[in-house]
Structures are given as C-alpha cells and as structure tokens.
Amino acid sequence: MKRALGLLLGLLVLVGVAVGYSTFAAGREDDAQVRRRPLDLAAGGQLVFVDTARKGGHRTVAATAMDPAGATGPARTDSGLRCERFAVGAATGVCLQTRGGPLPGTDALIVDPAMNVRRRIELAGTPSRARVSASGRMVSWTVFVTGESYNKTGFSTWTGILDTRTDYTLINIEAIPLTIDGKRYRSADVNYWGVTFAADDNRFYATVSTKGRTYLVEGDYANWEAHTVRENLECPSLSPDGTRIAFKKRSGATTWRLHVLDLATMRETALAERESIDDQAAWLDDHTVMYGRGRDVYATPADGSGTPRLLVAKASSPTVLR
C-alpha cells in the first residue's frame, strides 16, 4: 500500500513536470511574434531563406529586402510556411517539410509565387537539399536516411526530380544510366545528392557516390543519362552565367571546404571561407557565393579573394530573387 502510494505520488509529480514544461514550450512559440505576411516569390530585390531565429525549433520561410549591392535589410517577412530547406526559381518554390505522426518522414511541397501549396510529394528520411532551375521548371530535392537507432550505421540518400511542365516526378534518380570515366557503370550502391540545373532546363549536375568515392556527374534529363566529370566534389551549384560550379570538397573525415570550379579550364579555386561548410552553396550574383555556416548565412567572393561576411543571421537555404 505504501509502495503504491509512493508510486502514485511520484507519478503525479512527474506528470506535472512533463505537462508543465510542454505547456511552457508550446506557449513560448506565441511570444516570438513574427509578422506573418504573404510572401511574393515573383517580386525581385529580395533574399528568401529559411528563418531559424524563432524559438521552439520552428523553421519557416522568410524574406528580406536586398539592394543591388547585396546588402540585406534588417526587417524580415515571415510566410509562416514551415520548411527545413527551401529553394525558389522564377515562379516555383520547393519546400522540404518534416512530417510527424506514426509514419514520420519528409514531404516535398511545390509552392506557387503566393506560397500556396500546389503539390505534396511524400518521402521518407530527413531533408537535405532542395533546388529549382532558374526558369522555375525543374525541381529537385534530396533526403537522407540513417540508422534509426543507436549502434546502427548506414547511410543512404534519395534524390528526386520533378518536371513542373509535365508534372512527371522521379522519386529516386539512382536508376539513371551512369558512365564513370567513359565506362558504363552498374552498382547497387550509387547514391545521388545535390542537383543543380543548367539554364536549358535539361542538363544538370549532381554528386554521385559509389564504393566510397564521390564524383561530380553531368546529367541529361531528356536523354536520361549521366556521366562523371571529376572526382571528390560534392553539392554542386551552377553559377547564374553557367560557367562555374561552387561545391564543397572534403578536407577531413567530417569537414569540407568550399571551392569553385571553372568549367572551361577545369581549374578549382579554394574560397576564403576557412570554416568547414556542409551545404549546397547558392550564388548571390555572378561573383559571390552564399552558404549556411553554423546557423547563419554568409557570403564570400567566388574568386577566392576577400573575406566571408555575414549576410543573414539565423538563417539557412538562401535564394536570391533578382
């Protein structure tokens, strides 16, 4: 009897703590008042990003004004759309949103310029990369899956491509015929991630990894083939003029340095950023690369000169709308 009473008392206290803290955590969200205004993805002169400044772990798509010199204003407009990664091209946005519930996973949402959800593609795993072609026609995303539990290792990525003109969706592009160093290559262990599209909406670049190596691949959407271009190059991002690729290059077991590859000369240049960056960079303009560093977005010159500068604090996944 004494034991049961002790157990009941303990249970009451613990339930009290659990409910109390959860109520506090849920209410805390309301303190962080953000101006929820519809974003207009069709308007130029703004930088769109995922806002990580909000308390309680919510990350939402926000935008801030940007002048032609690349300086951002202090005020941010929050769309209220919850996303872990976001990218936009012309009139199309893609948002990777985590999904809770008994079957947790990730959804890829295709949004229109007014941020209305047009399509929802149900995926698994954790959001990793998102990209839209400059015209807004081609959309791509990457999610990754790790072991669910302690002491279980394993790593796999799923990269999808969606053609908004036909609405044809490939959930996983890994079956694309691949040529490595001129030879047709077949292996079950290929993983693709970090797609970037060229201006013709047909050619694309991505990372492929197989047998412990990573390569830059160039793909052809219409002919559905891909071939490797170069080794040890991840998360490519094509410059607006299509002449260079910003990418991360492995520099240690879990560290990467940002580089830029000139596609005409195939010369690569290390950027001034000394910190390890694990992100698919984006281009602020033809001379500047921006990327997530820690929990902020930084920008640095694409020719390796200068020093990195803070572009937006508490943000990730930047896209510039000119």
Binding site: R3, G6, L7, G10, L11, L14, V15, V17, A18, Y21, S22, A25, A26, R28, E29, G56, H58, R59, R82, E84, T98, G100, G101, P102, L103, P104, G105, E122, L123, A124, G125, T126, P127, S128, V143, V145, T146, G147, E148, S149, Y150, N151, K152, T153, G154, F155, S156, W158, I171, N172, S187, A188, D189, K211, G212, A253, T254, D278, G292, S316
Partner: protein
C-alpha cells in the same frame, strides 16, 4: 503453445478459470514482471529520444549526417569497459539492483543533458556516451536478476516476457515523441524533458517494486575482473561466448537489411519507417512462445534455429530482382516474410541466449559472466556493421548480403558443434 501452457498450469493446480490476458504472465515471477515494466517504461523514454535525434542534430543543430554517424558509433570502448566493471561491482557487493538502478538513473539524467549541451559536439558526445554507459551498466545486472528470480526450467519464458514488454515500450516511444512534438509545435526540448520524466518514473518503479536477490554469503570467494575473465575457463560458457561472438560478427545491422529491401522491392518511401515496426511487431508476438519453446526443446537449439531464420531472411532479401511489380500480392508476402523472419530471429536469440547462459554461470559471478557475453556480442556486431558497410561499398548491397549469409551458414555449422545441444538443467550454484 498456449495449449501446452494451459495444461501445465492445470497440472500445477493453477486457477483453471484464469482470464485470458493473465496467460501471458502466469507463473512468471513478480520480480520479472516488475523488471519488465521498468524496461517497458525506460524504452518509451529512450525510443522517444532516438526517434527525434537525427532530425534534432542535423536540422536544429546543423550537424552533418556524417558527424551524427560518428557521434553514434564511437564510445564503444568506454561502454564495454563500464559494462564489465559494473558486472563485477554488482557481483562483489551482491547489489545488482543498485548497479542496474544507477544505470537507469544515469540514462534518465542524460535526457536532460541533451538540451543543456546545446550544439557543442563535444558536449553532445559526452551526453550520448554517458547515456550509452547507463545502458551498458544496467543490462547485465538486470538479466542476472531475472535469472536469479526464476526457476531454471522457466528461464526462457521469463526472458520472453521481459523482452516482449521491452519491445512494447520501443513501439510506444516514437508515438509519444511525435505526440509531444505535435502538441508543442516542434519543441524538441519538451521531448527531452518528457523523456526524462518517463525515465524517472521507471527508476521509481524499479526502486519500489524490484527486489534484489540476496543469496546467502558463501565462503569468501574471489570476485574481480580477473575472476570474471576466468569464467572463460568454464568450457560450456567459453564455447557459448565463442559461438555468440562469431555469429554476431556475421549478423547484418537491421538498417542495412531495410535499405536492401527498399531498393530491391521499390517500397514507397513513405512506408520506409514501417519496416522496423514490422520486425518489432513479430519480435513482440513471438518472444514468449519462443522462450517457452526454448525451455522445452533446448535453448541453444532455439538460438541456432533463430539464426537459420535470419539466414532465410537474407536469402529472400538478397534474391535477384525478378518480376517484382510494386504493390503485387507476392511482393507484400515476400516483404512481410523477411520482417517476420527477422522478428523471429530476435525472439529466438536475444533473451534465449541469456536464459541459456545464465545457468552456466555460478551465482556469485553471474552478472560478470553475462556482462562478458553481452560485451563480446556487442563488439562483434559493431565490427560486423563496419565490415558489412565496406562490403556494401565494394560489391553492392545484394552480393554483400549473400556473402554475409554464406559466412553465417558456415558459422552456424561451427556453432552447432560448439554449443551443447541441451542446456544443462541443474543450476550451477555457489
């Protein structure tokens, strides 16, 4: 199997009109049920955290998946050492409940450490290491308590009941986590605090309802790490350790098998998280029947049989892509067969091995012995996941699985020769 259960209870003069749900727990010592309840509640707490950890680390803290993987895989050395040391302390002081309780308590406190560590990789690494240490510390004394609270002929069933309860917790954990995230609009710290409260409740349950086993103190006996390793001089126990470690080396981590399945069967991504649930469900349902079976036909026999089920699961999963139309009936049948076989494997090996090894060990060194066995097994599995990862990268998923399967088949032949065909029933005392 339930028919047998009823007959046995009748013979024992049990209450013939017992309600159906009581069948599950009939003749299971109260202490085992209490330990099962503690494990159930603890697993809710730990699986809550496990379910949200990748997302929390990678998205909220901005760690890369690779860093997360490294955090997850290191620290094995520390936990192995603490496990052995804990077993030894539990044996020397004969305070198994206290040592196990310390392990449960340590893991509970670690749940609060996660939000406090912020995004410091060192801090998070330390918290995870401490959490894993707590798990290592509690497992052997808890299993030793189960063996000491149960008559030897019923050990298989007792472990079956314990592991089934444990798995119920593992089922509920992710659901609880997502309920908290939903209610708090994605407040991860709330998940950790609730998880801490749940874990604390388990510690309280343990303190109030689990009884320690106080065997009469015999003549003073050596009980040191050296004495623990000297257990390997006992021939049946040494052979058990060898067989378990060897088989562990050839066991592929679940996640790998799920990935092979997803690739080969083109499972819609949305349903990927269901695969582990399928295995856990089969484990949950089969743990008690197989524990009982082990009591009747021999625990080592069932243990080896479980590995045959795993072998069959690999064969089905790695079968070359044939006419696999997504969504076809055949596809779903094959898929559920793999998951059930995997669940069968866990039900026939995890608790059954402890039930088989327990009676081989003298009471005064039982915790140390079980700790030794579990450490060998855990080390082998860690090594095998590295090995299999390399094989996967080198040859691709299907061939890697086939190679592991062939190795496992060979190891089974050796293990059959190593292991006694029946567990010796008379308990080794003193």
């Amino acid at each position: 199997m339930y028919i047998a259960a009823t007959r046995r209870a009748d013979q024992a003069g049990g209450i013939a009109s017992a309600k159906a749900p009581r069948r599950f727990a009939r003749n299971v010592p109260a202490n085992v049920l209490a330990l099962g309840a503690v494990s159930l509640v603890t697993d809710i707490s730990s699986e809550m955290v496990t379910a949200v950890l990748p997302t929390y680390f990678v998205l909220t803290l901005g760690l890369s998946p690779l860093q997360y993987g490294l955090l997850d895989g290191t620290y094995f050395g520390i936990t192995a050492f603490v496990r052995l040391l804990g077993g030894q302390v539990a044996d020397r002081t004969r305070r198994r409940k206290l040592v196990a309780g310390t392990g449960y308590g340590l893991s509970a406190v670690c749940k609060l450490g996660l939000p406090l560590a912020g995004s410091s990789i060192t801090g998070l690494g330390l918290v995870l290491a401490a959490d894993r240490t707590g798990k290592g510390l509690r497992t052997a004394p808890r299993d030793a308590l189960i063996t000491l609270s149960t008559p030897a002929p019923d050990l298989g069933r007792a472990f079956g009941v314990h592991r089934a309860m444990d798995t119920v917790g593992a089922f509920l954990g992710p659901l609880a986590a997502f309920a908290v995230l939903w209610a708090t609009h994605d407040a991860y710290d709330a998940v950790f605090v609730v998880s801490f409260c749940v874990a604390s409740f388990a510690v309280l349950l343990m303190a109030l309802y689990v009884r320690d086993h106080h065997e009469p103190v015999g003549p003073r006996r050596e009980s040191s790490l050296r004495a623990a390793f000297a257990l390997l001089r006992l021939r049946p126990f040494r052979r058990t350790c060898m067989a378990a470690t060897m088989l562990g080396l050839l066991t592929v981590g679940d996640t790998f098998v799920y990935l092979v399945l997803q690739h080969g069967f083109d499972i819609p991504l949305r349903y990927f998280p269901l695969l582990p649930l399928g295995t856990a469900g089969a484990y949950l349902l089969l743990a008690v029947p197989l524990g009982r079976l082990a009591d009747r036909v021999g625990r080592f026999r069932v243990f080896l049989g479980g590995h045959l089920a795993l072998l069959a699961a690999y064969a089905v999963a790695a079968a070359p892509d044939g006419d696999r139309t997504p969504g076809s009936l055949l596809l779903w049948t094959v898929l559920s067969a793999v998951l059930v076989l995997q669940g069968l494997f866990y039900a026939a090996t995890d608790g059954v091995l402890m039930a088989a090894a327990g009676p081989l060990l003298p009471v005064h060194l039982r915790t140390s012995g079980l700790a030794l066995l579990q450490t060998g097994q855990a080390g082998a599995r860690l090594f095998s996941s590295v090995l299999f990862g390399a094989a996967w990268t080198l040859w691709g998923a299907g061939p890697a699985l086939l190679v592991m399967g062939v190795g496992l088949a060979g190891a089974l032949v050796v293990a059959r020769w190593l292991l006694p065909s029946r567990s010796p029933l008379p308990e080794v005392t003193g």
